[in-house]
């Protein structure tokens, strides 16, 4: 186990952090468990790869985000207009997108080895050729800056009147409608925003790892949820800005856990999905475990208190039997 484990975890964590932020928006702010994510991640990845191969890496990132937003809109319309259960609507979109992704990608996987990626022009422009920079360093800087900019923009947005309206819809829908907020519009918009970030993550990953494949969207909901929940376990619930930052941190911690598990040969990479499923289950169960422990402790304390009372009663009884002195109640009666 070396430093490179942490470095890899940090890089991957940042790379996947916008996925976590997108899931935070739908899951925590809008209070909807959105399963579109698996599909929109692959959709963004496919669009990005195809655009990069065609020579437009930056357009690829934009297209990836737009593709994700479109997927979110479809789910949103299924939920609000067709009144389909949100979980089911997500599954429907995700399933449909699997075929769409095949059409877009045109093959089970596409390599970007010979294509220009977003980092390449940057690397050249910064004078990477003279050896002062590594391509990995440029990649890392690009991703970190992008994540910081997106999180800063989002946290500013959620403090505006429009952003406040989105938060209100997730908190109390009836009240939002009473405040003349078009809740259906907000839900569709929120799902589009969340999935745009997911699509962007997929788009970024395709160029980052140099290939896109159809299977990579599978299980992304779990990755996003795990990151959000790990972030909350350590960060708690505070402001939205804090929550968004914790989602990013959670994404890094999640990758760290995975990398450590792989590094100590605890498991092979086939077990990755199982690990993320267990992590999500364990961390989501934590609040219940905590309250069970707390109520167990208070129950024991209450039981002890009760037993002290019973013991005192028993003692008073035996004491009275042995020594029939007037109790305080008797003496008061006598006054």
């Amino acid at each position: 186990m070396t430093f490179s484990v942490f470095y890899d975890a940090l890089m991957l964590g940042f790379e996947y952090s916008l996925l976590a932020v997108g899931v935070y928006i739908t899951f925590r702010i809008l209070d909807m468990a959105d399963l579109t994510v698996d599909g929109s991640f692959g959709f963004g990845m496919a669009c990005s790869a195809v655009a990069a191969v065609a020579g437009h890496p930056y357009l690829g990132l934009v297209l990836g985000a737009v593709a994700g937003a479109a997927a979110g809109c479809v789910s949103g319309l299924l939920i609000t207009k067709a009144r389909i259960n949100p979980l089911l609507a997500g599954i429907i979109t995700m399933t449909g997108l699997y075929s769409v992704n095949i059409y877009v990608l045109g093959a089970p996987n596409v390599s970007l080895l010979n294509a220009t990626r977003v980092f390449d022009p940057l690397y050249t422009a910064l004078g990477g050729a003279d050896g002062s920079l590594t391509l990995d360093g440029v990649k890392m800087a690009f991703v970190v800056v992008l994540v910081c900019v997106v999180v800063a923009l989002l946290s500013a947005y959620f403090k505006t009147e429009a952003g406040l309206a989105v938060r209100a819809v997730g908190d109390n829908e009836a009240m939002s409608r009473a405040s003349s907020i078009n809740t259906n519009l907000v839900k569709v918009g929120g799902l589009a925003l969340g999935n745009a970030l997911v699509g962007l993550t997929g788009a970024l990953l395709a160029q980052y790892q140099g290939f896109a494949d159809l299977a990579s969207g599978t299980g992304m909901v779990m990755v996003g949820l795990a990151s959000v929940i790990i972030g909350e376990v350590f960060g708690g619930h505070r402001s939205v800005t804090w929550g968004l930052s914790c989602a990013v941190a959670g994404s890094v911690v999640y990758r760290l856990i995975i990398q450590l598990a792989l590094a100590v040969n605890l498991l092979d990479s086939n077990a990755l999905k199982l690990v993320s499923a267990v992590i999500v289950a364990v961390f989501m169960a934590l609040p219940a475990v905590r309250s069970a422990m707390a109520s167990g402790a208070s129950k024991r304390a209450a039981k002890n208190a009760m037993e002290r009372l019973l013991a005192a009663d028993a003692q008073a009884l035996t004491g009275n039997a042995a020594d029939p002195a007037p109790s305080s109640a008797d003496s008061r009666k006598g006054e």
Binding site: Y157, K159, T160, E161, A162, G163, L164, A165, R167, A168, D171, N172, A174, M175, S176, R177, A178, S179, S180, I181, N182, T183
Partner: protein, 290 residues
């Protein structure tokens, strides 16, 4: 003492004998709504309701469970669409406008204090949402600007609940009475044309009920907003506002105001209830407390 309002085929809009010189703020005409029509569970919740409310007029509605009071509110607010009839708000026909559009000029406070506020948003953020509602579409300006915070603080101060010092706590941590006070402020801060109070004190303890009703009277008087208040308390129905309506079986069967109302006590209202609604009212499904 009963009015002649209970003829089902009566021509609109001469509801009761009350004719206001002012143009009505709220006009409801021949409103009908049947739930589950054509099935064995069909229930006619509204069977031709006619009602006019002048600007600044404050009317209390009493009636047994299932009389159609809440359905009437739902129809006026746009939560359900009627089968027949007409609803005009401030002279505009709003019968089929969606609820979020109607809520620009219409406010509603529910029985459950949890319904009117968003628990995880702060007091100030909740009031801010209410402030923004009369405008079309939300803006990208900061929600918590200094001048807006000051305005919210000064309005919270008028409630007398000390909430101006707790602007940044989540509403979910407040008591039911405090939440209902915030809801009342949110309902009236945008100067609505109509205020619907749906048993808004029923979930509160007696002391909080007293304070909220007193606050209601003050706000309605200050803002001169047309108000309908559903209550199950006959004493409150006579003590608050300037008009009392009795609903039964989806109709307004009695409408008292002026000297007749001033002279009426709870027994008189019960008697009016019996004479205007018929003998069915005598049975114990009528859950009115005297």
């Amino acid at each position: 003492m009963a009015t002649q309002a209970n003829e089902p085929q009566m021509q609109a809009p001469t509801q009761g004998a009350r004719v206001s010189r002012q143009a009505p703020m709220l006009e409801v005409r021949a409103l009908e709504k049947t739930f589950n029509p054509g099935t064995p569970t069909a229930h006619k919740a509204l069977a031709g309701v006619d009602l006019q409310l002048a600007p600044g007029e404050f009317a209390c509605i009493v009636g047994s469970n299932g009389a159609g009071k809440s359905t009437l509110f739902n129809a006026i607010a746009g939560a359900v669409f009627p089968d027949a009839g007409l609803i005009k708000l401030g002279g505009r026909n709003v019968t089929f406008d969606p609820d979020y559009q109607r809520s620009r000029t219409l406010s509603r406070v529910f029985q459950d204090p949890l319904m009117g506020t968003a628990p995880h948003l702060t007091v100030a953020e909740n009031v801010s949402l209410a402030l923004g509602r009369s405008t079309r579409g939300a803006s990208l300006r900061r929600a918590m600007r200094k001048e807006k915070r000051d305005l919210i603080a000064s309005r919270l101060e008028t409630l007398g609940f000390g909430l101006e010092d707790r602007m940044d706590v989540p509403v979910g941590t407040l008591s039911g009475g405090q939440r209902q006070a915030v809801t009342l402020l949110m309902a009236t801060i945008g100067n609505p044309e109509l205020l619907l109070l749906d048993e808004h004190t029923a979930a509160l303890d007696p002391a909080a009920t007293e304070r909220i009703l007193e606050l209601t009277d003050r706000i309605v008087a200050e803002q001169n907003v047309a108000t309908l208040m559903i209550t199950h308390d006959l004493k409150d129905a006579l003590a608050h506002g300037d008009r009392t309506l009795v609903m039964h079986d989806g109709r307004i069967v009695a409408d008292v105001w002026g000297p007749e109302r001033d002279a009426m006590d709870v027994d008189g209202l019960l008697e009016l209830f019996r004479t205007s609604a018929g003998s069915e009212l005598a049975d114990d499904k009528v859950l009115l407390k005297a």
